[in-house]
């Protein structure tokens, strides 16, 4: 997994690529929580280049979402590949996370 934070129209966007599993999710958690601790009002996450996610990765995002909700923040996903979207649907997490097609949809929300 590779994680970078880009700035798009003055807002931080988390760009992920590769596999998110039990090995890589602690690093993801570290980056995510560092941003969330600063109480960013919204945090878009680009899944476009994510090739795999397991329950450890999902748990990291659920934790992040709970933290953000506690102060009214929004965790926003976009560009989710169909295989990963299917996992979110199966887990009924497509109803829990804010999911958008692309970055423009996030900014227009």
């Amino acid at each position: 997994m590779n994680i970078t934070v880009a700035v798009y129209r003055g807002k931080k966007v988390v760009e992920l690529s590769g596999d998110i599993d039990m090995y890589s999710s602690p690093e993801l958690r570290e980056h995510l929580m560092a941003l969330i601790r600063r109480k960013v009002p919204s945090l878009p996450v680009n899944f476009g280049n994510v090739s795999y996610i397991d329950s450890s990765g999902i748990a990291t995002f659920v934790e992040g979402l709970k933290c953000m909700k506690s102060y009214g923040g929004r965790l926003q996903f976009f560009g989710i590949p169909e295989g990963i979207m299917e996992i979110f649907r199966f887990s009924k997490l497509d109803r829990v996370f804010e999911i958008y097609g692309n970055i423009e949809d996030v900014f227009n929300s």
Partner: protein, 138 residues
């Protein structure tokens, strides 16, 4: 079930990528469709994740042995470890409505495998058998 593939990996999370790669390669040898292959890859990864977390309690010096095989009726994965005994009766996924971190791995395993069974006769460690029946062979 002939032509089994057997791999041994250390109980370190960095080897989960190896497990996934071998699982997908094995599944494709048996001409299983891509969607099911992805589901099996996730399920086997989750089973190994559980072994690292619960059987070895994060000890990365253990071993996980995976044996893949298939016959006319089913695809089978047998996973052995030498960690702490699992208590199958306590392995339960969370409700999908109870949104919290964790508790999804077992759902991902049972979504694709028809049989999920611990060998009660194994004296030390665990032997988990996962069986996916082919369409119409259940």
């Amino acid at each position: 079930m002939k032509d089994a593939i057997v791999i041994t990996v250390p109980s370190h999370p960095k080897f989960l990528s190896v497990v996934r790669a071998v699982t997908v390669t094995a599944v494709r040898l048996y001409e299983i469709d891509d969607t099911t292959a992805e589901e099996i890859k996730l399920a086997v990864d989750e089973a190994c994740t559980n072994i690292i977390k619960h059987a070895y309690k994060g000890d990365t010096s253990g071993k996980i042995v995976l044996k893949y095989s298939a016959g006319r009726e089913a695809f089978k994965v047998v996973i052995d470890d030498n960690g702490l005994k699992a208590r199958p009766e306590s392995i339960r996924g969370r409700s999908f409505d109870d949104v919290r971190p964790g508790g999804l791995g077992i759902h991902f395993i049972k979504r694709v495998f028809d049989i999920y069974k611990f060998d009660a006769k194994k004296k030390r460690g665990n032997r988990l058998t996962l069986i996916k029946y082919f369409e119409g062979k259940k």
